[in-house]
């Protein structure tokens, strides 16, 4: 039997190649909500508000990029929020207490993050401890270390930062550098996840670890790489957060791991592995972000934010379940 030649057209249009059903749906929902909110509040569709909102999303968004890779590999990383905080504290602490150049301090912080990722990955992939347990422990260790190093109080950066504050506060053509960098990361990782051979291996591993092994894929190596990448991204988010606020707070990134996971799931990632896109995760981050922003603009108490985020997550999962059922 030969295939009809037109079957490949399903994959041909540019839009479909980049976006699946899930991404299209999210964009549609985001547009609808934006229209509604901009009617209700004239402050919503202003450049200033959008930039502030985007700046607020960027750190969690970077975590969501890495978390997508982790979830696709079939794992999960609960330590990212703590690692974010620890990175900021290490860079800030080295600079303030030991006079280490802030850039070099940041580099050291990122190297420590990579080691944390290596530790996570080693115990998960080589020893075989479930990711939930290993990273839960690391979540406590990293957060605890951040508290120990700062004795619980935030460190304020001052003195000669040699342009370090540009990372989180600088602007190019009126757009914060942090946002531009965030967008660059999104484009880069979305592209890599779709098109590059090494990242495709992550999909194989997450889809069926046994089959990946029997296809000659070095499963532990792939998994360890994934956790190292995740921790380094968390470290980068921490450095940018430090720069943005000029404060190394031991509490930075508290709860961010859960925001990142829910953004990924809203964006179509599966906790069972093998599924998920960076674009989807970012759209999930944006959806939660603009709804929270809308609540603020509409003078709804901030106490509603968590509740609403939870509802969105559940709604996304239920919709996903129903559409999957219909398809099968």
């Amino acid at each position: 039997m030969s295939l009809p030649t037109n079957v490949t057209t399903t994959d041909n249009s540019l839009l479909k190649r980049v976006m699946g059903f899930r991404e299209m749906t999210l964009i549609f929902i985001i547009i609808v909500i934006s229209i509604i909110v901009s009617v209700l509040s004239p402050n919503f569709l202003t450049g200033e508000n959008l930039i502030t909102t985007a700046l607020g999303l960027a750190a969690d968004g970077i975590l969501a990029i890495g978390m997508t890779v982790v979830l696709v590999s079939g794992g999960v990383d609960l330590s990212v929020g703590s690692v974010l905080g620890l990175a900021a504290v290490i860079a800030g602490g080295l600079y303030l207490s030991f006079g280490v150049d802030i850039w070099i301090g940041s580099l050291i912080a990122l190297i420590i993050c990579a080691l944390i990722g290596l530790f996570n990955g080693y115990f998960i992939a080589r020893i075989g401890i479930p990711p939930l347990i290993v990273t839960l422990a690391m979540m406590g260790i990293a957060r605890g270390a951040a508290y120990v190093l700062t004795q619980g109080s935030p460190l304020s950066l001052y003195g000669n930062l040699r342009g370090f504050d540009f990372l989180g506060q600088g602007k190019i053509l009126g757009i914060p550098f942090f946002i531009l960098f965030f967008i660059l990361l999104i484009i880069m990782f979305d592209f890599l996840m779709r098109k590059s051979a090494p990242f495709r291996l992550v999909y194989y591993v997450g889809s069926n670890e046994n089959a990946a092994k029997l296809s000659g894929i070095n499963v532990p190596k792939v998994k360890i790489s994934v956790y190292v990448l995740m921790s380094v991204l968390a470290g980068i988010a921490g450095i940018f957060t430090l720069s943005r606020f000029s404060v190394a707070a031991p509490t930075a990134g508290t709860g961010s791991e859960l925001n990142a996971i829910s953004a990924c799931v809203i964006g179509g990632a599966s906790l069972a592995g093998g599924e998920g896109t960076v674009l989807g995760a970012i759209l999930g981050t944006i959806l939660v972000g603009i709804i929270n922003n809308a609540l603020v603009l509409l003078n709804v108490s901030v106490y509603w934010q968590n509740l609403v985020s939870g509802v969105i997550l559940i709604a996304a999962v239920i919709i996903d379940y129903l559409t999957h059922q219909k398809r099968s």
Partner: protein, 499 residues
């Protein structure tokens, strides 16, 4: 055949089931007698599973009636079916591995002392009574299911099924994971159950065992009822031709007429379950490994490929000694291994056909960082065509393909890297007759084209029909080599059986 009314247990009348896009069953009518072993045969997609799901209450028919003991019944759920005395043992076993045998048999209806406290003494005693029916297999009520082998687990499933005051037991491909010896034990149990008045609906692809067991055979094809035959009045050729709707003269492609030079040699390989195995493979040849399940054939294959650690021994490919420390080394030397368990170990079920085909290629033959989509699609296209894989597009999920086509995708994955040696472990397990023949022809083609083919199979006819030379294994050792006319069932069993 004349059947008196009282002999009839189950009658299906005009059963029709329509799924979106396909008619799974169309006006199927036949009956099953009391204390009868009734086989259902048909290619994959013939509607066997759908029919069994309807009888066992998993699916509702769109049209048609079911009569049990002359009374019209509606089977709305598996629970209804159990209450009516209909139980099913699925191909994929559904036991709780961490619980004991007794807890599994009486799951959901554990005897209780009072206040929801389980009466374990009574439970184990009840289980012991049931297990006494299966004295050939040594299973105790307090054994953990995870510690049992597949054959024993199947017995637990059957024990569980018959405790529901069972009148009709449906067995779906019960021997697909069993060795010949274990299958013999199962056959004896099935005959015992029959003598106790239980009717068996027996679904299998293996005609040989159907002819050994069944009283009558019902053939389905493309969702339609074709015929019910008395086993004594028919023969496998007739049944096969009814199943496929055409005469299959030659079940196997002709054997090799030209055996070339030695291309692959294994010397004194030992590992945990393999003892001092040596053999060689020649160009154009299909080399078979026969033996009972657990004889160490899979372990040997995995040791050669570096998946399992090798204690000692050497491997030569085209006269050159290979340094194989991991599976990756084997693949780099173009040695491929097609696993026996396609769902668990072979395929990425939730990924598209194209991604599955390119899985090994991407790591070993794609030198660039970025995936060439055109090339990836081209690869899928090439093998979909070459292996006649029936799929609606290269982006269809492998999950939704039939077993035979999944198997072909698994082979395609390896062919994509142009292997020199391909070891296939039970490559036709649980797939229909048509797909089986296609795989057999493919293997012969590959052997002709110069790829060394090693075939591990527990199906005697397959080993006898396909292989130019057969090595028989027992307890991790090679116990004999057969070629040409020596390759007979008796000779193989002689060498394979425990003694």
């Amino acid at each position: 055949m004349k059947v008196s009314a009282s002999a009839e247990l189950l009658r299906l009348n005009g059963i029709t089931k329509i799924f979106p896009g396909t008619v799974a069953l169309s006006d199927v009518s036949f009956s099953v007698n009391r204390a009868e072993i009734h086989a259902i045969v048909g290619e994959n997609g013939a509607g066997k599973s759908t029919l069994m799901n309807i009888i066992s209450g998993n699916l509702q028919p769109d049209k048609g009636e079911i009569y049990l003991e002359g009374k019209k019944v509606k089977i709305r759920s598996p629970r209804d079916a159990q209450n009516l005395g209909i139980s099913i043992v699925h191909q994929e076993l559904a036991l709780c591995p961490h619980l004991t045998v007794a807890e599994n048999i009486y799951i959901g209806r554990l005897p209780q002392k009072s206040r929801k406290i389980v009466d374990y003494d009574k439970l184990n005693k009840m289980s012991e009574e049931v297990l006494a029916l299966f004295d050939e297999v040594n299973i105790k009520p307090i054994d953990k299911v995870a510690d049992l082998n597949v054959a024993q687990q199947q017995i637990v499933e059957i024990a569980k099924a018959i405790t529901f005051n069972c009148k009709l037991l449906i067995l779906d491909e019960p021997t697909s994971a069993l060795s010949e010896a274990d299958a013999e034990v199962l056959f004896k149990i099935i005959k015992d159950l029959k003598s106790k008045g239980i009717s068996i609906l027996y679904i299998s692809h293996r005609l040989r065992e159907i002819f050994e067991l069944a009283d009558r055979i019902t053939v389905l094809r493309d969702g339609r009822y074709i015929a019910t035959l008395n086993t004594v009045e028919t023969n496998p050729d007739q049944v096969v031709s009814l199943m496929v709707g055409r005469e299959i003269k030659e079940m196997y492609p002709p054997k090799s007429s030209k055996i070339g030079e030695e291309i692959f040699r294994v010397e004194n390989i030992s590992s945990e379950k393999v003892q001092n195995v040596s053999f060689s493979l020649h160009e154009g040849e299909i080399l078979g490994f026969a033996g009972l399940v657990g004889a160490g054939r899979t372990e040997l294959a995995q040791t050669i490929c570096g998946i399992l650690p090798r204690h000692c021994g050497e491997i030569y490919l085209e006269g050159k000694r290979l340094e194989i420390k991991s599976f990756e080394d084997a693949i780099k030397n173009r040695i491929g291994y097609v696993t026996e368990d396609r769902k668990q170990f072979g395929l990425f079920l939730r990924l598209p056909v194209a991604y599955n085909v390119s899985a090994i290629y991407l790591k070993y033959d794609c030198k660039r960082l970025l995936i060439d989509r055109q090339k990836e699609r081209g690869l899928a296209q090439e093998f979909v065509k070459k292996l006649n894989i029936k799929t609606s597009s290269y982006f269809q999920l492998v999950m939704s393909l039939s077993g035979g086509n999944q198997q072909k995708v698994m082979v395609a994955k390896w062919l994509a890297i142009n292997p020199k040696i391909l070891i296939l472990d039970e490559p036709t397990r649980g797939i229909d007759v048509g797909a089986k023949a296609e795989i057999h022809n493919l293997l012969r083609e590959l052997a002709k084209s110069g790829i060394g083919i090693i075939l591990i199979s527990s199906e005697m006819p397959e080993i006898i029909g396909m292989c130019d030379r057969v090595l028989v294994m027992r307890e991790g050792r090679i116990t004999g080599e057969l070629s040409g006319d020596q390759i007979t069932e008796e000779n193989i069993m002689q060498l394979a059986a425990h003694r």
